[in-house]
């Protein structure tokens, strides 16, 4: 669980870094970029053999993490047949550390939406607008993203997905290291702070993407 979690955390770094290329269109960088940097980065990820092979490993990581998570949750729920009249609740732990199964399920539902929104059109159906840079034709993922995020319902769903991810990471980041056996108090304190910092940076960046496009801070125009 911890190992697959840490693997997926490294994926988040790549995913948020690549998607953050959309912000190059902001006036402070290059307002005439119109998503060119993001499209080229997306094209690199979709057309390079190594990246496509890593994509298979990534899917395997997701599937393994989801199966492990659900089976762990199901097993643990069966360990107390009769519950308490009065529960300990927040007096002993944070609500999100007790809700990793539910948060993970919400992220899974978000993942289904996200994959059907972007991954399937770009890798399987290819029904996307095209862009051309230096004679190379590629999917215009920037326009696809922009069009998707003009719908306020989609924006809200994405923000809820990011919120679930944030709380999942608040607990999951340091818990993964503990599971792997890190017990040095100094390192654990550092990892906890690092986890909070990582979660805030990654999730704020992810949340800003639909917001920036919905509010036309970045646009293909």
């Amino acid at each position: 669980m911890g190992l697959t979690g840490l693997f997926l955390i490294t994926f988040l770094v790549i995913h948020v870094g690549l998607n953050a290329c959309i912000f190059y269109d902001l006036p402070i960088f290059d307002p005439n970029d119109n998503g060119a940097m993001f499209n080229k980065a997306s094209h690199f990820m979709g057309s390079t053999m190594v990246m496509r092979l890593l994509e298979i490993v990534l899917f395997a990581g997701f599937i393994l993490h989801i199966i492990q998570g659900w089976s762990l949750e199901l097993q643990n729920r069966q360990k107390r047949k009769q519950g308490y009249q009065v529960n300990l609740g927040n007096r002993g732990s944070k609500w999100y550390s007790r809700s990793m199964g539910i948060l993970g399920t919400l992220i899974f539902l978000f993942l289904v939406l996200h994959i059907s929104d972007f991954w399937i059109p770009s890798r399987i159906t290819h029904n996307l607008p095209q862009a051309q840079y230096h004679g190379v034709e590629m999917h215009d993922m920037f326009i696809k993203m922009y069009n998707s995020f003009q719908n306020p319902v989609v924006v809200v769903l994405y923000l809820l997905g990011v919120l679930a991810l944030a709380y999942h990471l608040f607990h999951g980041f340091h818990s993964a290291f503990r599971t792997m056996g890190v017990h040095n108090r100094k390192y654990l304190a550092m990892l906890k702070s690092l986890g909070y910092g990582f979660t805030i940076v990654v999730c704020v960046l992810f949340a800003l993407m639909p917001i920036a496009m919905f509010l036309n801070w970045v646009s293909p125009l």
């Binding site: 360990k79 107390r80 009065v86 550390s97 007790r98 503990r178 792997m180 017990h183």
Partner: protein
């Protein structure tokens, strides 16, 4: 500290035996001194129940000084009640106010089946210890304490882990009913000392296997066990146990 008397309403879990259905029973207790311990308050109630010809409430207790781990009540949703780092027997009635309603339940976990009322069968902990929580190698005759050098940090960590009284509050508080804090404390207090080193790998493998067999859940590091532990056993012991378990699993001869 100001002394006062109080009247309370107790909602206590009653269950005649292991196989029967249980239910909450409500008792009004009057003129309880704030200087009584929580168990003394139960003694007063039980004396009244006996004098009335009723069955007294069964609860575990032994030393009544916080070191045996026998007392085990889930009081108002918290193992051992509202005070931090305190066993039920050391909890005093000044923790409550006149007119309070107190809900008292037994530990709830598949690994701790209820025997009667507030008494649970915690022999699963004994079986976990029997699986490896000891040193069986020949350590020779007793030698001068200073003849065996042990670094201070390790001695302190071992001593802190050895403070575990095996009360089961960690299991009671954990949403997964995991016994990891107990097992990790018992693993750590031996593993950190030179005498425990030769059997370190087999000990951690055997004790974790037995913990799983007893029907306890897995640790997901919520930290509830550490928050309620009357002996303040650190959850860091669980991480250390995981490290030992991983290493033992990869390198043991068996």
């Amino acid at each position: 500290m100001e002394h006062y008397n109080m009247n309370l309403t107790l909602k206590v879990w009653r269950q005649p035996n292991k196989n029967s259905e249980g239910r909450f029973e409500t008792f009004d207790v009057k003129d309880i001194s704030s200087e009584m311990s929580f168990l003394e308050m139960f003694d007063v109630l039980n004396e009244r129940l006996i004098s009335e010809g009723n069955d007294p409430i069964a609860f575990d207790h032994d030393c009544r000084e916080g070191i045996c781990g026998a007392c085990s009540m889930h009081i108002n949703g918290r193992p051992h009640g509202p005070w931090h780092a305190t066993t039920t027997c050391q909890l005093h009635m000044r923790a409550f106010k006149d007119g309070d309603t107190i809900v008292v339940e037994p530990w709830r976990a598949n690994g701790f089946p209820v025997i009667k009322d507030l008494v649970t069968d915690r022999t699963s902990f004994d079986r976990i210890i029997q699986a490896g929580g000891y040193i069986s190698v020949n350590t020779g005759n007793a030698v001068d304490g200073n003849a065996l050098p042990i670094e201070k940090d390790k001695a302190d960590a071992s001593f802190a882990a050895a403070a575990c009284i095996g009360c089961g509050a960690c299991v009671a508080a954990c949403k997964n009913a995991s016994a990891s804090l107990f097992v990790s404390a018992k693993v750590a207090h031996l593993a950190l000392l030179p005498q425990g080193e030769p059997e370190r790998k087999n000990r951690v493998l055997s004790m974790i296997a037995q913990m799983d067999n007893e029907g306890f859940g897995s640790c997901t590091f919520t930290g509830a066990c550490e928050a309620v532990c009357p002996k303040e056993i650190s959850v860091t012991n669980i991480s250390r146990m995981h490290k030992d378990y991983l290493w033992a699993g990869l390198s043991t001869e068996k």
